[in-house]
Amino acid sequence: MSKKSRHIAAAAGLGTMSLGLALAAPAVAGGTASATPSHAGLSGSINVVMAQYSSLTAPYWKSLVKAFEQKYPSIHVALRVIDWNTLLQQVPTMIQTHTQPDILNFNNYSTYASAGLLFPAQQVLSAQVEADFFPAFKKSDTLKGTQYGIPWIASVRALGYNKAAFVKAGISSPPKTWAQLEADAIKATKAGYVGYCLPLGSEEAQAEWSLWMWSNGGNWVNAKGQWAINSPQNVATLNFLRKLANTDQATQPNPGSTDRTSGCWAEFATGKVAMTEIMPLGTFQTSFMAKSNVKWASSPWPRSSLKIPAFTLGVQDVLMAFKHSGHAPLDKAFLDFVYQKGNYLNFVKREGFLPATNSASSALKNNPVDATGIALLPKAKFYPLTNPNWTVVQSAVQSQLGTAMAPGTNPKTVLDSLQRDAVSGR
């Protein structure tokens, strides 16, 4: 009971605060849309755990926290920046030991939300910040009508191709259909390239698989929202990939154990790969292509039939606020500061990701690379993040899907096993 009433009190506090803000905003000098809501009078301490995207991440957060604490001297932020590999291992340990932070930067929220561990987003964000997010992101962060995930950064995927390879193989335009892709991959292979580099290794198998699955009209779930990983369409998709790899030999060897970055992107950057899945910006650009002399371009994902609407895969990471220590007003002060246009834009630019807010993306529209990615966003499809079993499914796909590529394996068996894991949730 006491817990509940505290939440209500917090929500009431929020209401008055954002009201005050709405009145105060026009009065701020210059009237900039990104004027920060005031959180004066708060005091206390919050724990914040952020994911390390690159070597620039920790310095960014350190200076941001310093600026925040200068502005709010009575709020202390205990910050930890943890690399992804460690983070994926430590978050369950934190929950198991009841030491989850107040704010966490992660890649999935729904399991935590459905276990009742999270504050609804509107309790920890001012209405102004809340209104700035892309609707598509907000939607995939909403569970049973309540938004729990807080959109952080995003990336979209496309088909990248090596222009010189296309010329040498006699390919005039990028493939629009599976049949064209297969034919082009065979041509490029004959011209001495890896026709299509297929990364079904554990790093991001769920992304590569989503693209192929959706481009054949399949999906993770059926129309009723039930898991449908082993649907006939999906089996057909896997058989197409097996044909491309094992019969046509138009992929690199061992696609089931090739990772996207160290496998395909590294090879693409040396000019040996004709086509592969890429991010039109972000890490692909900064870490692999910036110093490479390969001329490349990207095009929308080919589909098995042109009747299937064009799409792209949108991958978003989220922030979430754990409610165990009841710091909603402090969380809100911090998150409002984080999403302030200058701060947020700075982060997105440094790390090379797509922003999740309208204001940041309009600021980036002049940058051609960013613009390509931003233009793809409206067509983006997302993982079934709202399903509480998604955490388990993603892990299972990463650790098992690749085995379906080995000659002599029955792809249906692998998909059946994934389906079982998805339904049972363990």
Binding site: Q52, Y53, S54, S55, A58, K62, L79, R80, V81, I82, D83, N85, T86, Q89, Q90, V91, P92, T93, M94, I95, Q96, T97, T99, T111, Y112, A115, L117, L200, S202, E203, A205, P253, N254, G256, S257, T258, D259, T261, W265, A266, E267, A269, T270, K272, T283, S287, K291, T391, V392, S395, A396, Q398, S399, Q400, L401, G402, T403, A406, D421, R426
Partner: protein
């Protein structure tokens, strides 16, 4: 722990008091005496209880609980986790892999290390160079070595394929660690290469403990080198063999980094052992910490049974105090025992038990005299050239991968992924060695690692020396239990205990503090130091101490003033082993000492920034690894001579 013996007068070697005091005083004294072992072993026991026992209990508890995929405890599960585990379709294959992995790696390691130690025991030009080369794979952390091998094994840009291609042995790249046909064997090879140095040094020490005059005696008796080997070397190497087999079995069984770094991210379970599978169940494959804990419990149970069985059969000769695991015998009776054993083993071959075969045997060996003489006439002048040549080849074999590391650390990003691999960088980027310091806070990481390894080494020494001394000198109820307990602490893979450790560290507010990591690392390093020093101290004659005692020195002072200086080589050995183990520790440091915001990371953890989620920056990773290896190798090389004689129980003259 029931170490404080239940039987009165458990301590046997303490001389009886010269005059009979009053009854009350005697009882009082007896009670005190019963507590004496606690006094000496107490610190060790406390450390074990805190660092190993508590997380172990936590592991068992977790195995009986339902834990959700995000870590929520959903209550008591009974044996459901064990049932889930046994219904894993991959389990039989994983168990098969584990047995094959342990048998192959330990078996081949022992078979290779025996002759290698024999070889390094001979005097030849360049022997120190070979020993140093052997040290490198041991001094380099497993995470670094495994990453290096993954890079060497790579398909299109791997160095192995470049070499084999240029030799004309392969015509298209082999995807060594990615393809099912080869991946497991790649791991076994690396496993053997990194286990050989430690094992060789254990044998080398064992060999040096064998007195030369035994071989001279054998030669006088007309024994052939093979007879001498079977009759003297092998039996006297038995204690060293015990150490090598037991410790290697535990280390190899619990080996996580090699498999995890090289093939851990490859879908499927073709190369998983029960240790990596446990990690996968917890963090990738099932996200089920309860089921993983169940496997963790079974892993330890399995090791206790296997090692217990082996130790029982081969036997820690714990009846005679002073027979530690590495010592052959003890005290003044030692040489007599050796000679007896020698006689027992040689005589049957000569003429005692089977006199009837003697003429036949002579006849059989006679024709060999000719070739033998030819061999000798070739060998004597050739020896100064042949031995160094073989030595050079061995040194090259062990050092070569690390030369690849040096070579690749100088490559640009483009050169790194050039296909086929370039033997040399198109332009050596020496700048990598300068810019790495600004890429990551390498200096802070090195200071952290030095402080933690240094403090842990001191702590281990302070705690294990009294325990080793006491168990070497006294027979008391619980002595054997203590030695086994120490052994058992080695059987828990830190990977299995990490959740319990994390929980414990949180409860005392020790995250990202130096002292917490120092305590935990010390707890895990305690066993080896205790064993080594126990074995060595036991071989120091008791008479040495009696003089001190007559002069009125108490036992503590005797240990520090008289025994410690004599045991210097063993202490040096313990220091170097502990230092390296802590310096290279990864799993615990990653979990409890990991705060990039304040630069609180150790070197092995910190350099993983270059592995990243996106792409391995091999050049920087290798630069940082090399910088990390250098201090250890230098330390090692400087101390190597002591190390060998330190492992030699009883080389005191």
């Amino acid at each position: 722990m029931h170490i404080a013996g239940q039987v009165a007068g458990a301590v046997t070697t303490t001389p009886a008091p010269p005059s009979a005091p009053s009854r009350g005083r005697r009882r009082h004294r007896r009670a005190l005496r019963r507590l004496t072992p606690l006094f000496w072993l107490g610190p060790s026991l406390l450390l074990i209880a805190a660092v190993v026992a508590y997380p172990a209990v936590e592991l068992v508890r977790t195995s009986l609980q339902t834990i959700s995929s995000i870590g929520l405890n959903e209550g008591f599960a009974g044996l459901q986790n064990f049932r889930n585990l046994f219904s894993e379709p991959a389990l039989p294959h994983v168990v098969y892999n584990t047995i094959l992995w342990v048998v192959l790696v330990v078996g081949v390691t022992i078979l290779v290390s025996l002759p290698l130690a024999q070889f390094l025991n001979k005097a030849f030009f360049g022997r120190r160079l070979v020993r140093w080369a052997l040290i490198i794979p041991w001094a380099a952390s497993l995470v670094m070595t495994a990453t290096l091998w993954r890079y060497i094994y790579e398909g299109s840009y791997g160095m192995l394929n470049a070499v084999l291609g240029d030799l004309g042995l392969i015509h298209k790249p082999v995807y060594w660690y990615q393809s099912q046909a080869t991946s497991f064997w790649c791991l076994v090879f690396v496993g053997i290469v990194v286990s050989i140095p430690f094992t060789t040094y254990v044998f080398l020490a064992g060999l040096q403990a064998i007195p030369r005059d035994l071989y001279e005696a054998a030669e006088v008796d007309g024994g052939t080198p093979w007879q001498a080997y079977r009759g003297i070397t092998l039996p006297l190497l038995r204690p060293a063999l015990l150490v090598a087999v037991v410790l290697n079995t535990i280390y190899v069984f619990n080996s996580f980094p090699i498999i995890w770094v090289i093939t851990g991210k490859i879908p499927g379970d073709f190369t998983d052992t029960t240790i990596t599978f446990m990690y996968k169940i917890a963090f990738t494959y099932r996200l089920d910490p309860g089921e993983a804990a169940a496997l963790g419990v079974l892993n330890v149970a399995f090791l206790i049974v296997v090692v217990g069985f082996y130790v029982r059969r081969v036997g820690i000769s714990s009846e005679e105090p002073g027979a530690g695991l590495t010592s052959v015998g003890s005290g003044p009776g030692r040489w007599a025992t050796l000679r007896e054993r020698l006689a027992d083993s040689l005589v049957p071959l000569a003429n005692r038990t089977r006199p009837a075969f003697l003429p036949v045997r002579r006849a059989l060996t006679a024709p060999w005299q000719g070739p033998k003489r030819v061999w000798a006439s070739l060998w004597r002048p050739g020896r100064p050239y042949i031995l160094p040549l073989i030595g050079l080849l061995i040194a090259a074999f062990f050092a070569l991968p690390y030369l690849v590391m040096l070579d690749s650390s100088l490559k640009s990003n483009i050169d790194l992924f050039h296909s086929p691999a370039l033997y040399f960088p198109t332009k050596a980027e020496w700048g990598n060695f300068a810019s790495v310091w600004s890429q990551i806070p390498l200096a802070s990481y090195m200071v952290n690692s030095l402080v933690i390894a240094g403090l842990a080494t001191l702590l281990v020494l302070a705690v294990s020396l009294p325990a080793a001394y006491y168990t070497a000198r006294h027979r008391f109820a619980g002595r054997k239990a203590f030695l086994y307990l120490i052994l058992v602490t080695q059987m828990f893979a830190p990977v299995a205990l990490v959740v319990g450790i994390y929980r414990e560290v949180l409860s005392v507010n020790g995250q990202n503090t130096y002292w917490a990591l120092v305590l935990i690392d010390s707890g895990f390093a305690l066993a080896f130091a205790t064993w080594i020093m126990n074995g060595y101290l036991a071989s120091i004659p008791v008479e040495v101490e009696e003089a001190a005692r007559v002069d009125g020195a108490g036992p503590l002072r005797t240990m520090l003033r008289v025994v410690l200086p004599l045991a210097k080589p063993a202490v040096v050995t313990a220091v170097i082993f502990t230092f390296i183990q802590v310096w290279n520790e990864f799993v615990v440091a990653e979990t409890i000492f990991n705060d990039p915001t304040t630069n609180r990371e150790t070197l092995t953890v910190g350099i993983n920034a270059f592995v990243g989620l996106y792409q391995t920056q091999y050049n920087y990773l290798f630069v940082a690894s090399l910088i990390g290896i250098v201090p250890v190798v230098i330390l090692f090389a400087a101390i190597e001579r002591h190390l060998v004689s330190g492992l030699t129980a009883g080389s005191i003259k």
